[in-house]
Each structure stands twice: as C-alpha cells, then as structure tokens.
Amino acid sequence: MPDASFSSIMEGRRSQPHQLIEVLQDVQSQHGFISEDAMKTISSELGVSLMEIYRVASFYKAFSLTPCGKNVITICTGTACHVRGANQILSQAVGQLEIEPGETSDDGLFTIKQVNCLGACALGPIVTENGDSHHHMSPGRLRRLVKSLYKADTEDSPHDKD
C-alpha cells in the first residue's frame, strides 16, 4: 500500500471516526478494493477498531474486500430496467463470461456487478463499464461490447504470441 496516496486520503481526517465511510470510498476508488493492510492502517489513523472497519466495509455495497477485474461490467437491475429485460442482459453476461454476479473471471479481466438503480430509468436497460454508460442495452449489444473490451485488453498483452 503506497504510503503517499494514503497520506492524501487521510489528510484532514485523522482521529475523526465519523469520516470512515469517506476514507473507505477514496481507498476503494484508488485501489479497487479494501485490503487487510489498508484496514489496519485506517484503524490506527482514524482511531476506529479493526472490527468496526471490517463491519462497515462488509456492509456497504460500494466496498469490495477482494480485487476486481480490469473491466467491471455493472448491470442495472432497478424496477424500470427490470421490466425492460435487465434479466436477459444479466443472463447474457453470466453465460458469456461464465461467472456469477459479484465474481471475477479467472483471467482477471471481467467482474460482473449488479446495481439497483442509477437514476437513468427512462433510458434503460443500462450497463456501465469503466466510467462509461450505455443505454437501451440488449443482450446482443452487451455481447459485442464484452467482445470488444476483451479484444482491446488481450491485444495489449505482450504474452499474446499466437
């Protein structure tokens, strides 16, 4: 855990237990997950017991205790997206990547996540990845999106020698 980034996250928050969630959010967005080491550091800096931090990190969906894949495919399963077939899109993702929601593919390239409403309900079904949002998604469009992400990542890989 690089100390420099941690200092900036803890800036102005030391010994303030109520800042725990804000701190965890910054750690999550910078490192992609909350590690045991990170929790121990936060515990001593904020003055919150390790048990409490572990409780908070495991309660809120925004935090992951394990590293995520390179591409996090988030599928909205809110009511409006649900009645427009979000289930089919989830089925597509699960079938294509061969993992369940919440899991990461073995090659570390993809994680499937579900979210309960992003507030773009009139444009559903919605899928987001890498900060980009896609609207009026269909299983076919998702299949092509995942394929293009896979291609982009494996083409960059220096081990791709066939």
């Binding site: 045991e36 017991s49 048990m51 409490e52 572990y54 495991s58 309660f59």
Partner: protein
C-alpha cells in the same frame, strides 16, 4: 437517589426507576415477557422482537419492543393481549425453524405458543441473536467479534479470522449462546415439523393456562427472574 415512576403493565401498577426499560421493569416485578437478544446491563437493541408489547397512547395502541421503550410516569402497557401473543408466536416460529436443534430456542418458541410450524426446518447454527457480541463488546470492551455483512449474509465473524489475536479466550460468548448446549436429538426430519415439547420446560401448565408464565430451564444465562412454580 434515583427517581421512580409508576407504570401500568397488564393492569398491575409497578414502580420502576427512571431510565429503566419496560422489559426491565416487568422482569424485576416478575412479569415474564419472552426475550432472546437481551443481555442484562447492556443496552438493548430490539433485534429479536420477541419482547413486543402494546403501548397505549391516547387510546391508540402501538406495538413496540419493551426493551427499547423507557418507562415514563402513567405509561400503559399490555404484554399479553391476543394480538401480541399471535405476533410473538409468529416471530418465535421464524426463529425456531432457523435453528430447531437448539433447546433454548425451542423452549422460547414453545413458551410463545409454537407447536406446529409452517416452514421447512433449516439447520443453522446461529440465529444472530447477538448475545455473544453484546457480552464481548458491551460488557468487556473487547472487539473480537461483530456482525458482518448485510441481510441474508449477516453473520458473526472476526475480521479476517483474526480471532487468535483479538480474542482473549474468556469463553463468555459461549456461556450466553443459545446454541451452545447439548443439541436436541429431536425434530430434524423433514415432514415431522413439530416441536415435541419434551424439553425441560413445564409445558403442561402452559397449555392449560394460556398467558401463564412458566419457569423453564433454558440453561445458564437465560434464567428468568421469576421464581419457579413448585
């Protein structure tokens, strides 16, 4: 010198110290309101919902947990109306079908009027009553275990299984756990979903006199303050 207030529980006027909960006041007096997640002297959270009572305010009744309701002068409480007994029975039914192998939970359920159950039995070894955590953190200030996760995933855990470093092996959590007694050999077969009633509680009395509290042997840590009948 503590201030005292007078509250009316089930038609009985009780003097209780200000700051006590209705549950405390009732138990001190000998009115047994069934409860599970309560650990004496530690702040109650109202998690198991078994201690529900009707709080009558201006003629209207509100169902609330007696462990979180503090006594106030002139308060009117009903702890054993038909409505409360039915609701309590349903909650106890939910709890006992989660962990039917616990004698303590079976006994609480029987006392709440559960005989037949309408859900398939599960075989969990924890009902999330939180007594272990209450005694670890609330009484002794250790933070070795806690509730982790949410909803269906809620469980009692040590962070990263670090129990070896955080836990002092005092064993108090085991003392108060309703699951930590010799398990009942009884109702685990599918299709036989019924409580046999052969545990140590005096169920015969309870069946003949509904609403009558019986002293039952729930095991150490669950002792009701009311004196046994015989």
């Amino acid at each position: 010198m503590a201030q005292h207030v007078t509250v009316n529980i089930d038609g009985v006027f009780i003097r209780a110290p200000k700051g006590n909960s209705v549950l405390d006041a009732a138990l001190d007096y000998g009115i047994c309101i069934p409860h599970l997640c309560r650990v004496p002297y530690i702040q109650d959270t109202g998690a198991c919902r078994l201690c529900i009572v009707e709080h009558i305010v201006k003629g209207r009744s509100k169902v609330t947990t007696s462990c979180t309701l503090l006594v106030a002068d002139g308060m009117e409480i009903i702890s054993n109306s038909e409505k409360i007994r039915k609701l309590r029975r349903n909650i106890a039914e939910l709890l006992v079908t989660e962990a039917p192998n616990s004698r303590a939970i079976q006994d609480v359920a029987l006392r709440c009027g559960v005989r037949e159950v309408r859900y398939p039995f599960r075989n969990n070894d924890c009902v999330l009553c939180g007594r272990c955590i209450a005694i670890c953190t609330g009484r002794f200030g250790e933070k070795a275990i806690g509730f982790v996760g949410r909803g269906k995933d809620r469980r009692v855990e040590s962070p990263f299984d670090l129990s070896t470093t955080l836990c002092r092996d005092c064993g108090r959590c085991i003392d108060v756990c309703p699951m930590a007694m010799t398990p009942c050999g009884g109702p685990m077969n599918a299709g036989e979903e019924r409580l046999c009633g052969n545990c140590e509680s005096q169920m015969a009395f309870a069946e003949e006199t509904p609403g009558f509290c019986v002293a039952c042997d729930l095991g150490e840590g669950f002792q009701c303050e009311r004196a046994p009948l015989s």
